[in-house]
Symmetry: C2
Subunit: 236 residues, 2 copies
Amino acid sequence: MSPTPQERRAARHGLIGSAPPARRGRTAPITVEAIISTAFGIVEREGYEALTMRRLATALETGPSSLYAHVVNKEDLDELLIGRLCAAIELPEPHPDRWREQIAGVCAQLRDQYLRYPGISQAALAAAPANLDTLRVSEGMLAILLAGGVPPQTAAWAIDALVLYVNAHTLEVSYAKRRRNHSDDGWVVGREEMTGRFAALPDSFPQTKRYADELTAGSTEDRFTFTIELMLNGLL
Amino acid sequence: MSPTPQERRAARHGLIGSAPPARRGRTAPITVEAIISTAFGIVEREGYEALTMRRLATALETGPSSLYAHVVNKEDLDELLIGRLCAAIELPEPHPDRWREQIAGVCAQLRDQYLRYPGISQAALAAAPANLDTLRVSEGMLAILLAGGVPPQTAAWAIDALVLYVNAHTLEVSYAKRRRNHSDDGWVVGREEMTGRFAALPDSFPQTKRYADELTAGSTEDRFTFTIELMLNGLL
DNA sequence: TCTACTCCCGAACAGTGTTCGTATCAAGTA
DNA sequence: TACTTGATACGAACACTGTTCGGGAGTAGA
């Protein structure tokens, strides 16, 4: 008996490994691998919101129901995607003196991956956090922090905070970019117009008016590194 | 001519205030106020994912299309909800010596509001960040940080980081709770089973196995205050 | 050749947000 | 009083979404 998608999912969560199934009489057989790669292609080109089962099926030249032979759910597909995404993260060998830049580097890798596939952080936030691939990067980050002399309890909680922030930050950036592309409304505005709008606020916003420059300063990358460094500062 | 929903939205984003429309021949006239309050009721009882236009319409004893006379979009409705939610935040008078607890208190208020309406942080993350109500709490937090002696640029960026983390944290907690309620699968497990599962990992996860206790330690509230304090530590 | 067993997929179901055209009703005006 | 005006409300429909079911197609083994 061939594995049901549920069994595949269980195998992914556990440690069982099975041989891949043989191909059939299609031009390109539908495999979990093919599903994942075309899904990534769709997300990279059109964003995560465009990744629907139908869109994915037509990209594979088939119907939506064919996907459910290899994938339990859309939720399951999302889990596969973020697992694959985490598997691409390179974890450096922990070096006690360079723990800060090493952690920052891993976070930057995560950010780049998430931004390469816009909106996929939504799936990352919703996904079960016990996936084996996500656990791998947690393990790597934990090793770096411990090598740097961070206390275990602090390190454990800090990792959660860091990846949570990376997820949220990339999600917000993707939303902002989407809003900018869908610029049907005049709501999304540029930097200088934002400053002017802050300056034109009623007097019940004194600080916001006064520090409009600071509030709108910095690229998204600046804000990202600022926050990461901010969290890293308190670890020792 | 009565205001279209678009005009209402523009009025909310700007500073124009208009008189409420007169009521009609319904038992309870359908107003933006009624829409918001019943929407909050639905989210509080059944979660944000249950808040659909149809569900909201039937709760108001009408059809889905009737809502679009008062609300532009579902996105617009979401914006209204998080605006209302932010309006309920009490901002303390800044006290230079107590800026840390004051900021932590505001964050805790935000967290409690978000957790009271599970899943609504999703709307908060997607919403345009320039809403007047959200700007009010930003103004309040900025005032507290400045009074505490935090440099303006640091304060401005820290506020973004803080509210972003609060959003992400509450969203994750809501997801976990939903997963626990929908416990059709046996995937969601308790604390001790989580620890055991970590301990049973393959040897490629040495640190995770070794520090399984630390990784699963602490309530969600502990982790929340830890991260907030972590970020606050680096501000001076 | 016949059977068993995969894999695959068309059709349909129950949802979702949203729009269009129309009906209903209060107020203002001749 | 009769009539227009204008806003409010809503039924029906459209284009989507994820998902399930029953059967079709084709290979592998007996």
